[in-house]
Symmetry: none
Subunit: 124 residues, 2 copies
DNA sequence: TTGACACATGCTGATATCGGCATATCTTGG
DNA sequence: CCAAGATATGCCGATATCAGCATGTGTCAA
């Protein structure tokens, strides 16, 4: 099969078709985080995140193509909002490891509760 | 600072320093998945996943550098096992969206829009 | 209609990523 | 010591990614 010769550097799946890759970028995560508090127009994101407008728009496009955000036109503004249900693949995958994550966290949690019970920590 | 001029196409954080990027690759996820059932030597992974040995080794290196796997030498074999507690950054980030993933976002959204339409100031 | 605003898109260059191949390293056995 | 097995590493080319810049598209106001 000579075809494989053509596929030399096939590399990772297109960022545009994979939630995992979409979320791999810090700036895209920051955009999603900024949308948690509610839908926002592009300009608002540009201001909040201190990124150039084309940059924000392009990241929004990627997020949109994997279905993590949805767009609504309002006048000459474009209001983006989260569509977090499409984080499900990520959530589902991560779920397979949750036992291990929770195992550690439970212990820490236990420990913290223990400390609280001990002697009135009331920090800060 | 002129340094920024050098950083033109800085792009995403080094795959080797970011769990999100480490997990963004399908083949790396497959390796992690293959290790859920228990620790395995490189050769076993090569067989199970039908990937070339150098390929597996390189992915294991990335996973190792972000702390998702740990290595143990056993004779001339190198046995890798999961260290899933380092999935925590991913888990923590995803947790912020869990409410939306688990519940029927559509219904909540409907409800919220309904409230907005009512005119009831429900904030804070 | 003209102009300004808000956003999207296309192009470019620098860098990163990935896989294959060949080879180096380390370990065991004779 | 020498050979073979198991794995890690280095180099390469092809492709993907990202940011900046300039420009296109659609919308409101006068």
């Amino acid at each position: 099969m000579l075809i494989s010769a053509y596929l030399g550097g096939m590399a990772r799946a297109a960022t545009t078709s994979d939630v995992f890759n979409a979320v791999a970028d810090l700036h895209r995560r920051r955009i999603l985080d900024a949308l948690i508090s509610g839908e926002k127009a592009v300009g608002a994101l540009v201001g909040d995140l201190a990124m150039s407008q084309p940059r924000v728009s392009k990241h929004l496009r990627v997020l949109s193509e994997v279905g993590l955000v949805r767009c609504r036109a309002e006048g000459r503004h474009r209001v983006y909002r989260l569509a977090p249900e499409n984080l499900h693949p990520l959530h589902a995958w991560l779920g397979k490891y949750e036992w291990a994550i929770n195992d550690r966290l439970d212990r820490i949690d236990d420990y913290l509760q223990h400390l609280q019970g001990q002697g009135d920590g009331s920090d800060t």
